[in-house]
Symmetry: C2
DNA sequence: AAGGGTAGTTACCAAAAAGTACCTACTTTC
DNA sequence: GAAAGTAGGTACTTTTTGGTAACTACCCTT
């Protein structure tokens, strides 16, 4: 049986600022992308999730999932069958978080369009 | 004269996703905190900014400011007087971004309160 | 005339993060 | 009977970051 001992080691936010803890969590590479995949695809098994994020290693995926689970942003549903079946999905907190991240996404898209129209002006 | 040659080296988002570029920018340590300080205090000079973010080194501050300037999230106002006077502040883009980040901040605060009330339930 | 403040830059080093490869234990499929 | 798939864990290496200290050039203050 896997012992789930991989240490997530969030530095525990010495400043005590709530935003600091949240940023520290989201700032890790892949983290937001993992959340976005879980949001658009619904709950996924470990392997499916990994296949949906090309380039992501098992090690890092496990770390990220542990941190997100600990913060109750995602849930972990474990069926100790053979082969084992573990499903991850967004909790209510996770969905709430995604609505905020979605706003960032909208901004990113808007800026991208703006930048393109600056790069190639319509005056031809 | 400082030659402003410090390479910001954003990995240029190989995936081409707009959100990826934005996250790559915001994800760096201190970046969001710098933006928050500029938002709450208004435009600040380099030294003032540094003093407002304890623990942040000149090197990293310069790197972050260059990246944010390049993305037009902050502006850089340079008066080549002696001593030199350089002021940084949020652009319209920056202010737009901060409204989105503020929502994350609200979520972080709410969760923090929730977690405390779970840790010490009112049933005494 | 020595020290401090201005806004950085550079080189060097230490720490943290991420990637790689290989391992479990069991079943199903080829 | 060997390979592949399940969900990770472990050890090792490499890459990326961030911090430190010293430096620029010029002025004002003590």
């Amino acid at each position: 049986m896997p012992n789930r001992s991989l240490k997530p080691k969030l530095p525990k936010s010495p400043s005590g600022c709530p935003m600091d803890s949240l940023l520290r969590l989201l700032m890790g590479q892949w983290t937001c992308y993992i959340l976005w995949v879980l949001c658009t695809n619904g709950p996924l098994r470990f392997g499916e999730l990994k296949r949906n994020v090309p380039g992501l290693s098992s090690k890092v995926l496990t770390e990220r999932l542990r941190m997100l689970e600990e913060s109750r942003i995602i849930f972990r549903d474990h069926h100790p069958s053979i082969p084992p079946q573990v499903t991850y999905g967004l909790t209510e907190r996770g969905k709430e978080l995604l609505t905020a991240l979605d706003e960032l996404f909208e901004i990113a898209k808007r800026w991208c369009v703006e930048d393109e129209s600056v790069a190639s002006p319509e005056s031809l």
